[in-house]
């Protein structure tokens, strides 16, 4: 699920790509060593890095922190959507009165055989082989036997289907919010501050969405900016860029393939209180 922490991480990654487009082993676009992270600087580290510009080292710090300004903008459907498809690697191939278990074993998967209107199912285990799967199914079916992965059914058996199901994931948007996120540039001079701020601000202004860890997209919109020279006494020039980030809070769930549908039927006469027996069919 996406959380405000994911938003901060995504912005850190986005800014790192802007500042170091060719990787951190190559010079930054500003020519200044820059460190980008979520949270706040540690003062002793910041002092050391800012002072070191005078001796040939030094790093500009860029931090990301979510402010307390937030608005609930929930407005989309909460229906479940497919996130990943189930992976079926085992196969059941029906040929005459035989069913052959094939493919490769992986979990989670379910196997099911419908014979004479009744279902026989087996959940594949991590240590199974194709033969043990065939054995586990064959022992359930009256009159069936198996040799290796091949299950042989009696001549009277009516084989309706051999099915394999897997488990995928689904997700849904349960909430949506707009949060003001503060990107702060901590530099030793106004020139270093502006060089860093401009590189970041222009790139983010041209970015409509950043992708979060759950693969949803967060919309980013510039909101305001603040210059702070009041800290120059501490050899610090600071600039805050405030971006509004709208992102979804999502919920993820596993979704297992239905391999056998069970239908219970109750019949009765309208107006009569007499009950009838129920009938179950499998499809």
């Amino acid at each position: 699920m996406a959380d405000v922490v994911d938003v901060m991480s995504a912005l850190v990654a986005a800014m790192a790509q802007v500042i170091y487009p060719n990787g951190t082993a190559q010079p930054s676009v500003t020519g200044l060593a820059t460190v980008i992270y979520a949270g706040w600087p540690q003062s002793s580290q910041l002092d050391k890095d800012l002072a070191a510009f005078n001796t040939g080292g030094g790093r500009v710090h860029v931090t990301v922190y979510a402010t307390g300004t937030e608005k609930n903008t929930t407005r989309y459907s909460t229906d479940w959507l497919q996130l990943t498809q189930p992976a079926q690697t085992v196969t059941l191939v029906v040929a005459g009165q035989t069913i052959t278990v094939g493919g490769t074993v992986s979990v989670p998967q379910n196997t099911a055989i419908l014979v004479n209107g009744l279902p026989y199912t087996y959940a594949v285990q991590a240590n199974d082989t194709l033969t043990t799967i065939a054995t586990a199914l064959a022992v359930q079916i009256p009159g069936a036997s198996n040799t290796g992965p091949v299950i042989t059914l009696p001549a009277t058996a009516r084989i309706q289907a051999g099915r394999v199901g897997g488990a995928g994931t689904m997700f849904r948007e349960v909430r949506r919010q707009q949060r003001a996120v503060q990107l702060t540039i901590w530099a030793d001079t106004p020139a270093h501050r502006e060089a860093t701020a401009q590189a970041i601000d222009v790139a983010l202004a041209a970015t409509e969405f950043v992708t979060l860890s759950d693969q949803t997209a967060a919309r980013i919109i510039y909101q305001s900016s603040r210059l702070d020279d009041g800290t120059q006494k501490a050899n610090l020039y600071r600039r805050d860029l405030i971006y509004s980030v709208e992102y979804a809070t999502t919920q993820t769930s596993a979704a297992t393939t239905v391999t056998v549908a069970q239908e219970n039927l109750h019949t009765g006469v309208s107006g009569s209180s007499a009950t009838t027996s129920s009938q179950t069919t499998y499809q």
Binding site: W40, S43, A51, W186, P190, Q232, N235, Y237
Partner: protein
């Protein structure tokens, strides 16, 4: 006998005492506001003994006290001289007539900067002091830097910040009549940074109150 003659006898007496109980110090006489401890400012080697303002040598010095009495040949000394030896580094703060010579024990080496000064008229550069545009006015002077009682909140207000201490800085008079002002920036050799709040030039040198100024 007159005051001058008597003063000479007193300093002769100090010299005789230092011969018995003194330790060797290198004596430097700063000639400029830059690097007072260098071969160019070396006067020679002198025997000197320092005590915690107690000529009976019955008590040691303790925390927060920078002033010592000095027993050495005052006839070859001047206010502002640095004495560097095994017991530490001192500068001579006062040589008042017939009174003990006062010295200040130095625990730091400081550099004082004048913040950015915009010259000229018309459009000039961005206004704001940085490490690049400030100018060193005193460089590499050993000094006493001791904690003052006061403390202020940090202006940066980072989550890990504590209140920042005020400090007392004692410096000898700086050659060239360098005047230290409020808002001057002071740094020391261990990476601390301060801003001068009040600078007082006394007959014992500079007594400066400064606030630690870091993030």
């Amino acid at each position: 006998m007159d005051g001058t003659k008597l003063q000479g006898k007193v300093y002769y007496g100090y010299a005789q005492s230092a011969k018995r109980i003194g330790l060797p110090f290198r004596q430097y006489r700063p000639a400029s506001a830059t690097n007072p401890i260098s071969s160019g400012t070396l006067v020679g080697t002198i025997l000197a003994s320092f005590n915690a303002q107690d000529m009976k040598y019955s008590k040691p010095n303790s925390y927060g006290k920078a002033v010592w009495y000095c027993l050495a040949d005052g006839r070859v000394m001047a206010v502002g001289d640095y004495f560097v030896g095994a017991p530490g580094t001192f500068f001579i703060a006062s040589m008042q007539p017939l009174l003990p010579i006062q010295a200040i024990e130095c625990n730091r080496t400081v550099t004082v900067f004048r913040p950015q000064q915009q010259a000229g008229v018309g459009a000039v550069g961005y206004g704001g002091n940085t490490a690049q545009n400030q100018t060193a006015i005193v460089t590499g002077f050993p000094a006493s830097v001791l904690i003052n009682a006061k403390a202020d909140n940090s202006s940066v207000k980072l989550p890990g910040d504590t209140r920042q201490a005020w400090w007392s800085l004692l410096l000898p008079p700086i050659p060239g009549n360098v005047i230290i002002q409020d808002a001057d920036v002071v740094t020391d050799e261990i990476g601390n940074r301060y801003v001068v709040s009040a600078a007082e030039l006394t007959d014992m040198g500079w007594r400066i109150t400064m606030a630690e100024s870091e993030t």
